[in-house]
Amino acid sequence: MAELERHAYDVVVIGAGGAGLRAVIEARERGLRVAVVTKSLFGKAHTVMAEGGCAAAMRNVNTKDSWQVHFGDTMRGGKFLNNWRMAELHAQEAPERVWELETYGALFDRTKDGKISQRNFGGHTYPRLAHVGDRTGLEIIRTLQQKIVSLQQEDKKEFGDYEARIKVFHECSVTDLILDADTGGGQRIAGAFAYWRETGNFIVFEAPAVVLATGGIGKSFKVSSNSWEYTGDGHALALRAGSNLINMEFIQFHPTGMVWPLSVKGILVTEGVRGDGGVLKNSEGKRFMFDYIPAVFKGQYAETAEEADQWLEDNDSARRTPDLLPRDEVARAIVAEVKASRGTPHGGVYLDIASRMPTEEIKRRLPSMYHQFIELAEVDITKDEMEVGPTCHYVMGGIEVDPDTGGAATPGLFAAGECAGGMHGSNRLGGNSLSDLLVFGRRAGLGASDYVRAMSERPNVSEAALEEAAKMALAPYDSHENPENPYTLHAELQQSMNDLVGIIRKEGEINEALAKLAELRGRLQNVAVEGGRVYNPGWHLAIDMRNMLLVSECVAKAALQRTESRGGHTRDDHPAMDANWRNTLLVCSTTEAATSEAMVPGVTVAPEQQLPMRPDLLEVFELSELEKYYTEGELTEHPERKG
């Protein structure tokens, strides 16, 4: 193709949030040349929106903590569907990754003896979250961004060029991965095809390794805490390149999003409010969470308000408050209260911090929340209760990867952070996302580096592949008989997913959603945009719709197949958790290649069994707890059974 900008790198990282930037740092430290490609400006990625903290068993506040306890909490939170090896690596390596950030210049809140302070959070046995007030994600992304700048300054000294080893391509969107032309069927990664948002011009990266770090899929749902960037790009790129997705039926609805005014519905209210003592109440003023402790967590949580408040004073002398049950439990409890007509005027419940803490303390600990409510809702949270309700927040499902290297099924393809699947099982604990992206961002950067260094011959990008990618990207500019507006298609998708594959699901509604998705897939072929290619948001959305439709199809099809309720997947028609499903992953793959004639390929979903957990890890849990989740046959190897 003419007018095509070409670059060659060792590793291309797609996404510049925490996972992507940590991968960049690792690959650069190993001597490779790295490009980081991001749809947004450098430093604006979704990681900035993480509020509460980064979980790591550093033992700064309670020395009883350990990686084993963190591992156990993570597995429990995910209802034992997690990839246990990822959960193990995560719990073991998170403290090092947090401490490392201090050497990059991060300034976390401190304990009295000058260490990193740690706060309580849902599902975590001990205070475990390193934090900076309620803006921890901003601190982490800025720290990584500034570390990259410092590496570029070193490269400037050494090579006379800031961009000798790391170049940031910002406001640049990848539309397709390119596979190797020389291997016949084309299995290996050979590069990535993208356009500059600013000019609309195309750009190709020739690279043997690509790290996907594109985050989540929340923009397919109407009520979401996610930014426009969360269109499932990495999920869809991986599928189209022949890799698999797992766990796509598990979507986390964060229990506390704003519900009013309508225009801010879904904006996150940090779990840190409850971690620091805030409580949920219904319209009768009752702290209702004591009524919603599920059987599997009975005995682990306080059963009276007095005990819960005692725990807040002293972790060791009482059981924790059920306000801090894992997010899936709290979200379902809120839905149930609203359904029982005990909700607020705007269809949420109350979150009360005002009566729990002095005004100045609230402003110091939760400054962003204070400003968010004053400025967007005219509510002073130091005086009045907040109205909150569930909002689509995180996808547990993602690209199936090797736990140690982040490698996907396609050679040369790696993934980390939210777009990778497995680590969180059926439900993620708050605080485990920031630590996930540091641990596995580094590992994917390392995995990609090792892969490139072991390679004898570099792959090739074919002109035919580039032409097809360009054709698909430009399809909205072709003339169409029945032109469709991309904004309309997007709004219809969001409404369907929200209403039909949302927090509570049933067979009939999921089938309805699948019919709608089939209709939208057809209409996407006719999507048309006005204007030119220079910074044209209508065109950008039309391209992102391909990804959203493909990923939504995976969510709906997997949700239909899993006939039980677990974590972020609740089936009204199959309300119980079923031990026979515990070890089964639903694996999504595409049935055909995407072409300009059919831009959203078909999806097939197949069950797959996970490897049984290593016996030494199994021993972290009491047999009596495992019996709540496992089938009899799976527990014959447990030491308590054997001996």
Binding site: K44, H46, M49, P95, L138, N485, G531, G538
Partner: protein
């Protein structure tokens, strides 16, 4: 008022064009209760002008992407409620004036990324291993205030040193990056010496005439002028002209 359910037609005036030129265009757009300027721009995109260029991400005041000038004042579109204007008032939205226009409301902010590279990075103590860092909360409070910055670049846009004097851009880092120097200078464990002098000599601190415009527009309410720029000017001046400091530095160099 929160709680009411009013809806009305607002008069909106939006700058449209590119680097070759453009102008203000008038629109009438529906406004619902509680909405912010960015909601109205999005409604305009969805219903009237699908190719209207606007930069935004989080719509929650956390990422600092949707900076623009609203009735001439630099602001985040996502944090400017329509209820702050009268219903019959025309609301004018224009791109940031200090940076080159790409298209419509989107400007080329690469100036800021260049300046970020000119600030020497955090320089940790060599003998301290990860996990060994000890700092008191009261000692990190000052730098933490500056690290609340979401890099919306509104302070960079409003600062008169560059807003009306393009030729100052080369020598002047702007409030955001002068504040970064202060942040690192006040970092309990940064070992880099002479940050105040660098700010003065290399980053153009002397050009700042403390009119506090940056502080006024900061959506994070950071006291940029009082807490970052003035103390840095004082430190630079003290070190430069104080013979005792000069002699002390000669005799007992830190590090």
């Amino acid at each position: 008022m929160a709680g009411s359910t009013g809806s009305y037609q607002a008069s909106l005036r939006v700058w449209r064009g590119d680097d070759s030129g453009g102008g203000l265009q008038d629109f009438t757009v529906e406004v619902n209760d509680g909405e912010v300027v960015l909601d109205i721009i999005h409604r305009l995109q969805a219903t009237q002008t699908p190719d209207l260029a606007v930069r935004w991400n989080c719509k929650a005041g956390k990422c600092g992407s949707c900076s623009a000038e609203i009735n001439g004042k630099p602001r985040l579109m996502c944090m400017t409620r329509m209820s702050t204007f009268d219903e019959d008032e025309t609301v004018t939205v224009t791109p940031l004036r200090a940076f080159p226009v790409m298209r419509d409301l989107v400007t080329d902010v690469s100036f800021n990324y260049q300046k970020a590279r000119e600030i020497p990075s955090f320089t940790p103590p060599k003998d301290l291993q990860p996990g060994e860092y000890r700092m008191q909360q009261e000692d990190v409070n000052r730098s933490q205030e500056f690290r609340k910055c979401i890099e919306c670049f509104l302070c960079q846009d409003v600062c008169h040193v560059v807003r009306d004097h393009e030729d100052n851009k080369k020598a002047y880092a702007g409030p955001r990056f002068l504040m970064r120097q202060t942040e690192l200078d006040m970092h309990p464990l940064d070992t880099m010496e002479r940050r105040p002098e660098q700010a003065q000599e290399d980053n153009g601190l002397g050009l700042c005439n403390i009119t506090k415009c940056c502080t006024e527009v900061c959506p994070e309410h950071i006291q940029i002028t009082d807490n970052a720029l003035i103390p840095m000017k004082e430190r630079a001046a003290d070190r430069k002209y104080d013979p005792v400091v000069w002699l002390g530095n000669k005799l007992f160099r830190r590090g």
